[in-house]
Amino acid sequence: MSRQATTSQTVGPFFSIGMGTAIHDNLVSAGTSGERVTIEGHVLDGDGEPVPDAIIEIWQANSYGKYAHPEDQQDKPVEPGFSGYGRIPTDDQGKFRFTTIKPGQVPDLDGKLQAPHIVVSVFARGLLRRLVTRIYFPDEPANAADFVLNLVEASRRETLIAKKIAGVSGKLEWKVILQGPNETVFFDCGL
């Protein structure tokens, strides 16, 4: 008999006690290959107010498009020291920042390559279950054919694409708007 997954519950306001010991906001070490990028932004609520008690988790492939996971059986190099996992809380101003590399492309369900992306979970007081979204990269030709971006109506797609910051290289801005007319696109990933 198949069982139902345990019901999700909010992380509440005090998650930093339990999740704070594994903060990981820099995925890059000296030997990591790929284009380094710092991604920063705010988590904002339905009134546009910053959310100081949110925490985001990221998961991504390395620069070759290979996940550090046994189910990724692509013939691409794994990089010791690059886990692909990050966990970043927001600060008192609702701001988060992390440094990583732009991931390589990984296959979709048809074996076509997806555009480079980072998968994201958002947890916060007030969220009874996590929100799931993705970060894509600006000026990326593969975005046009990406099957996940094409699940999203064109007018909302840009909420998934990090923005360049004028005059600054190596840094991108990406916001999480939890609710409202400019709400970030969130995905139904099951749980």
């Binding site: 005090f14 998650f15 006690i17 339990g18 009874l128 969130f186």
Partner: protein, 234 residues
Amino acid sequence: MAKTVTYRRPNPDTQPPYLHPTYVSSIKRGPSKSLIYLPHTLSEVTGPSFTEAAIDVKACDLTRQHSGEPLGERIIVSGRVLDAEGRPLRHSLIEVWQANAAGRYLHKRDQHDAPLDPNFTGCGHTLTDAEGRYRFVTIRPGAYPWGNHHNAWRPAHIHFSLFGAAFASRLVTQMYFPGDPLLPFDPIFNCTADESARKRLISLFDWETTIPSQALGFKFDIVLAGREATPMET
């Protein structure tokens, strides 16, 4: 081509909605637009793994993290982490956090007028073993008031964070205690339509793991999303 075995979606009644107005914090934080159905690709069926090297073996005993013993009722919380088919999730990270026996969290934003305990941080983690089992030693957390509505009190609970084998199986939940009179009034516990799902959040008092003259045992099994039977060709 590799095959992607995707993760099964939950029965909607067994998982909370984002907007649950009796939980006031959800009103401005839950999304207002429909979620977009995301097929599970390689990005979602993979996920972070944590090895022994990342684990502090002492972190599974929350009563031994300081020079003295914390105040309160010592308890053993144990159980198994399983997938939907009952298969154990092996060597999988579990993190826990909780209030102290007086119902106070060691956190700058906790304003509850109850004492901190210099011998209790309220934070632990462990890996499940080869049969998916875990075990924490801790103290029973206290109930505490919160600002959700007039005379609102959270039932005693322990927060659990689990990863399982993939991004798609990530879960954060809360464990409650049997017989807690506050459960019927708690909007967070009561966030799902399915009564049996709610009941699975309540641990069971357990003689098997109770240690004579030492600590009461509570059992809490956790089920993470399971795999679909049929692989998607990719």
